[in-house]
Every structure is written in C-alpha cells, then in structure tokens.
Amino acid sequence: MKPNIQIDDEVREMTDDEYAALLETGWTPGEEDTPE
C-alpha cells in the first residue's frame, strides 16, 4: 500500500510515479519500534 502525500491542505495516496520517486531517494516504510 502506497503512503499518503500532503501538498498544502490536500492529503491523498501517492501515485505510482510519486512512490517510485520516493523510493529512489532511499526512503523506507520503517517499523513502529519503540525508540531508545
């Protein structure tokens, strides 16, 4: 499932192209771990 993107007041699911571009930056979904 693609994450949301926010542009000003609009929050929506990312398009495939936007998600691909995000992944190219090295972004990862992460895990909801407890911080130290």
Binding site: P3, N4, I5, Q6, I7, D8, D9, V11, M14, L22, T25, G26, W27, T28, P29, G30, E31, E32, D33, T34, P35, E36
Partner: protein, 185 residues
C-alpha cells in the same frame, strides 16, 4: 517596514496599531497542519521577495518510525545540497557527525521518532537569485545517539517559492509547520 517611535502624548491611531503591532522581528507568514501518515508535506507559496530569510518550525507531531531524519527540499531545487550535521554523542560525550554531498535535499533539517517530530530551521535566500543556506538548531539522531546542529548550502540561484519536508523513514502525523519571515526594516 520601519519601526515608529511614539512620543509622549502622541495619538495612537488604529492604522499605526495595526501596522506596528505586527511588526516583530519574526513575522508570521503561514502555517500548515500536517495530516495523517504522510510521507511528505509540501508548503507552497510561502517564500517571496518580501523577506530575504525565513524560519520554519515544525512541532506537535510524531513519526511512525523509531527514528527518522527530516529532509528539507526547496521547490524546484532537487539536487546540489551540501552540508552536515554534528553534535555530541550522548552516551559517550564524544563528537559525531554526518555529511551531505550533492544530495536531493538538506538531509538533516530535523528529526522524528514515535514520540515527537521537530524541526527548527533557518533558510537564507530561498526566493533570491543567490546561493541558499540552511541552519537547523534542533537535530538529533537516535541511530547515532547524537544531539546537535546541522548546516547546509545549495548553489542554485532558482527562486524557490515553497518547500517539502520528508522523513527518511516512515511517515509523519499531526503537528503544525509554521513559516516566519525575518523582518528587514
């Protein structure tokens, strides 16, 4: 916008009150509430020729990941960011640092974890046809166990009008991004 010095007995008019009451050192420009589980937040049309330099503060929200760096990218400037973060490693009292070399963003503008997200960033000349400079005084890295500051630059002369904040991992939820201009006169 100049400062006015009122003299004893001078009438304080509504016009003067409206003008000079808002004439602080940091002038509020706009704010943006951050939505739920967003992988990036873009604030458009906040930089103009009115101010040379700006402060941007993001607080009140949290990240989905245990640790994430907040990257800052000016609109239409997607490469050429240089700089670094440096600070004190909290469990050794030693020094730590991370570099930024020709990146797509100023990579260490702020930080987030599941408890909080924070960015307190000065941006110099974003809307001027000049080199840009960035300075954050609120960087921490849970991964590197480091608290510190970060500075960066970008040689682009593109006149940016907005920016995007992106966590390196996971998403952001809640909080508010506020943009202030440094008053020039």
């Amino acid at each position: 916008m100049a400062v006015k010095t009122f003299t004893t007995g001078e009438v304080l008019t509504a016009a003067d009150t409206n003008t000079y009451l808002n004439n602080g050192g940091l002038v509020y420009i706009t704010s943006q509430t951050v939505g739920s589980a967003v992988s990036s937040v873009t604030v458009s049309n906040c930089f103009s020729s009115t101010y040379d330099n700006y402060r941007i503060i993001y607080s009140g929200g949290a990240g989905s990941a245990a640790v994430a760096d907040l990257a800052f990218q000016l609109s239409s400037i997607t490469t050429g960011y240089y700089g670094g973060a440096f600070g004190v490693v909290w469990n050794t009292s030693g020094f730590g640092g991370k570099g930024i070399s020709n990146a797509a963003s100023f990579l260490y503008a702020g930080s987030s974890d599941t408890g909080a997200a924070l960015m307190s960033l000065d941006v110099f000349s974003p809307n001027k046809a000049l080199r840009k400079h960035f300075r954050t005084d609120s960087y921490y890295s849970n991964t590197n166990e480091m608290f510190g500051i970060a500075e960066g630059t970008n040689g682009s002369t593109t006149q940016a009008t907005g920016f995007t904040i992106t966590p390196s991992t996971g998403t952001l939820t809640g909080g508010t991004v506020r943009v202030y201009g440094y008053r020039q006169a």
